[in-house]
């Protein structure tokens, strides 16, 4: 197990370093001069030159990359070129909102999707299975931004039950929860379908295994067979899926953060890409990459703990 952990950690470091390099190249390959975009048509050549100097844009690309990597290794994600604030500070303010949204969205999706998948597998071709199948495909197929707008129109504009803007007042948990409901619903809805389909398929496969048949032959109750012997095995690919999904949501909640005007990492990346505020974009994407790697690492460790066979597969 320890050797597996060591190899897995080493791989994670390599992935992060490669991602940093790829990110840097991609950001600087975006068409357009960041200076003229950021400052707009009013900017004089003097203003443009000062801005370029401030952002090190007048330096060779390789030099800019070295500056960036050196700073990252020292824990310095840079400085926002407009506000002069620390990028790390900005991101530390935004990150909790994104994590909260991702956890809430995946949380309710797991709470609903896994039981639905189990029920479908336990009673295949029953009305529960058919309804779940239709709903799963439906929720996967409907784009989340459409769900967001629909939810706003129904619950915020027509019924006025739920708020639509922001993340709620600090210190007021009830208000924050009310502000979380619609975006978490919109982000998580598709995941209900994904998880139900995944668990159903895995469960059907596991339920046909010999050891399950043996368990039944020994007279174990259906509840015990399902929850003690089938589900822990069937849920393994789902754990990996949830890990990848959670990592993806760290930047993938952007649509909900924009539509619901919630603070968050996705939204700050979106805003700063438009503003060509490179230090913030680099820092934010780097943070999401690291978190993504960490989350998938945790998922892999859980899977390897539950199923020792995967320890030899790396």
């Amino acid at each position: 197990m320890w050797w597996y952990l060591l190899k897995r950690l080493g791989l994670s470091v390599v992935i992060v370093l490669m991602a940093i390099a790829a990110l840097f190249v991609m950001l600087h390959s975006i068409p357009g001069d960041p200076v003229s975009i950021a400052l707009g048509p009013r900017a004089t050549p003097e203003i443009q030159a000062a801005y370029a100097e401030k952002m090190h844009l007048d330096q060779p690309l390789a030099f800019q990359f070295l500056i960036f990597v050196g700073n990252v290794l020292q824990g310095d994600l840079g400085t926002d070129v407009f506000s002069n604030r620390s990028v790390g500070l900005t991101l530390s303010e935004q990150l909790p909102y994104t994590i909260t949204l991702a956890v809430a969205a995946l949380g309710w999706a797991i709470a609903l999707g896994i039981p639905l998948g189990c029920l479908s597998a336990i009673w295949p071709n029953s009305w529960i299975d058919r309804v779940t199948g239709v709903l799963s495909v439906g929720t996967i197929a409907v784009p989340s931004f459409l769900v967001s707008i629909w939810a706003i129109l129904i619950f915020a504009i027509s019924l006025r039950w739920l708020p639509v803007l922001g993340a709620g007042d600090e210190g007021d948990i009830i208000d924050q929860l009310r502000h979380l409901i619609l975006p978490a619903f919109a982000v998580g809805l598709g995941w209900v379908g994904y998880l139900a389909r995944m668990v159903r398929a895995s469960m059907l496969e596991v339920m046909g295994e010999n050891y399950i048949r043996s368990a039944r032959a020994f007279g174990l109750t259906s509840r015990m067979v399902v929850f003690r012997y089938a589900l822990p095995v069937a849920v393994l690919p789902t754990i990996t899926l949830i890990g990848v999904g959670f990592g993806g949501l760290l930047s993938g909640t952007v649509f909900a953060e924009i539509i619901f005007s919630r603070p968050g990492i996705g939204r700050i990346i979106y805003d700063m890409v438009l503003a060509r505020n490179f230090p913030v974009v680099q820092g934010a994407v780097l943070v999401t990459i690291v978190l993504y790697v960490v989350v998938t690492l945790i998922a892999d460790i859980i899977v390897s703990w539950l199923d020792p066979r995967v320890r030899d597969s790396l």
Partner: protein
């Protein structure tokens, strides 16, 4: 629907009005509103900096600065027209002659953080500082401020500069900083002013909100709303939905939403057009070999149906444009020197001996611009020109005509462009002088007469003569065949109809002047 118009009030004329009326600025409220009476507005982007010398400008920094920082003058209404008025921070502001402006500050206005009273020294420091700033263009005529005593002084210009009161002092770059605090902060700041003085104090949380709360040290007149919450809502449609959900009291909206709300305004809502200080045109590269014959360019001018663009792309909400000077400003033309006449355009093409012409039309990839481009594509087909539309992201779009960014400018043929303007014609014309060829003058023409008129327009204080100057400058531009005037897009806000909302001509919210009806 309310429509705010603005005019370039006479430099001396407005002063006379203000002086005669004994006007001094005041906020509308007589006391703070009841607890919980909060104005909630939309900010469409995050603030990069509040420092008037080094900010990106416009909305939202100006909206905030006008609530927390002193200024000698603000925008207000004089004779039903938007113009400068003395601010609540002054006893008086008087334009003595074309190069001297006297002012006297109110006493007892205190800077935050223990930096003492607002003084004439602060005024002098603030304006002197602007001449070395990134916005020194606004202070091109500023010479110095002569401090008479603690509260009064005289601003001295180095030449008559007609736009000084409206373009310089009343705009966002005219705010006053605390000399001592700014110097202690190193001479500049970003989003945390080292000292403020206004009816509100600011609390800012990045990408979330700016909260304006009562300033306990403020001794001046009180605004009607005790609290203002400015929520960052970057997506325009999300802003409109939030207004409909009752979570915003005022929000800037797009032309699309404007057209929708004109047909059916939500209950309890009102629409205000805060100005149309945007000018959009189709540019033609006169140096491109395909377009070097002026008859071809004039044919293109006559082939574009502006009414179709106004209706098709803007649902009738934009105003047709006849030049670069925006509605309500001196120099605004009543008509272009050409009109939609595809038959005449075809005849010009035949006269030039040009047929089977293929051209590219570059545009930003926004829905309105793409629709306008498609209408132009159909229009030009009538005179035998085949147009290929090239939609572009803002990155490549804003650098394509700049010589310093590569050689794309040589390949440019047609493009749809829009600039924002300040409340004076001087600002719009500055981008088309000879020095701007290859910078922002992408049509790549120049004219000695235009250069001469540009200088004349800056110093001319007679409004009738100024009008003639700027009209002639637009005629010169049009005669190059490099411009097809398109529209002036309005800045539109939707707000609660029980709120008297106030806006600057340049489209920023004057939130301290908002009041319940």
């Amino acid at each position: 629907m309310t429509k705010i118009t603005q005019t370039r009030r006479g430099f001396l004329q407005t002063a006379a009005i203000a002086g005669a009326a004994g006007l001094t600025g005041t906020f509308p409220g007589i006391s703070w509103s009841a607890e919980g009476d909060t104005l909630t507005v939309r900010f469409d982007r995050e603030m990069e900096s509040l420092d008037p010398g080094f900010y990106v400008g416009g909305h939202p920094p100006n909206d905030v600065n006008w609530c927390i920082m002193p200024a000698l003058v603000h925008f207000g209404m004089v004779d039903g027209q938007a113009s400068w008025v003395p601010s609540p921070y002054v006893e008086s502001v008087e334009v003595v002659d074309s190069t001297h402006i006297d002012f006297t500050l109110k006493q007892g206005l205190m800077w935050s953080n223990g930096f003492g009273e607002v003084t004439a020294e602060d005024v002098a420091y603030s304006y002197d500082r602007m001449t070395e700033s990134e916005w020194k263009g606004d202070y091109v005529a500023y010479e110095r401020t002569e401090v008479k005593d603690k509260y009064s002084g005289t601003i001295i210009l180095n030449q008559p500069f007609a736009p000084f009161m409206n373009l310089t002092l009343a705009s966002g770059t005219g705010i006053i900083l605390c000399k001592k605090a700014t110097e202690e902060a190193g001479g500049k700041y970003t989003i945390e002013p080292p000292a403020t003085c206004g009816p509100y104090v600011m609390e800012h949380k990045q990408a979330q909100y700016v909260r304006l709360r009562p300033n306990p040290d403020w001794t001046g007149p009180l605004p009607a709303f005790a609290n203002i919450d400015c929520i960052f809502v970057t997506d325009s449609e999300a802003g409109a939905l939030a207004f409909e959900a009752g979570e915003l009291d005022c929000a800037k909206i797009t032309s699309t939403s404007y057209a929708r709300y004109l047909k059916e305004t939500p209950p309890g809502a009102a629409l205000t057009v805060a100005g149309a200080l945007q000018y959009m045109w189709m540019g033609i590269n006169i140096e491109n070999p395909k377009l070097s014959d002026i008859r071809v360019r004039k044919a293109i001018q006559r082939a574009v149906d502006i009414d179709s663009i106004v209706q098709g792309a803007y649902s009738g909400t934009a105003e047709p444009s006849y030049g670069i000077i925006c509605p309500g400003l001196v120099g605004k033309r009543d008509a272009a020197g050409y009109s939609y006449d595809p038959a005449e355009g075809k005849a010009l093409m035949d006269e030039a001996g040009v047929s089977g012409l293929n051209l590219t039309l570059r545009t930003l990839n926004s829905p309105e611009r793409l629709l306008a481009a498609q209408i132009i594509q159909v229009n030009l087909a009538q005179i035998g020109v085949t147009v290929e539309i090239i939609p572009l992201d803002s990155g490549p779009f804003w650098e394509m005509g700049q010589e310093s960014k590569g050689d794309t400018y040589k390949d440019m043929e047609l493009w749809i462009m829009r600039f924002g303007a300040g409340p004076d014609p001087y600002e719009a014309t500055q981008w088309f002088i000879r020095d701007q060829v290859g910078v922002w003058n992408w049509e790549r023409w120049s004219s000695d007469e235009f250069e001469e008129l540009y200088k004349q327009g800056i110093g001319e204080t007679d409004q009738a003569k100024r009008h003639e100057v700027y009209v002639r400058m637009q005629e010169i531009m049009e005669e190059t065949g490099g411009y097809v005037w398109l529209t002036h897009e309005p800045e539109v806000f939707i707000h609660r109809d029980d709120i008297d909302a106030k806006f600057a001509p340049s489209g920023e919210m004057q939130m301290a002047y908002f009041a319940p009806k």
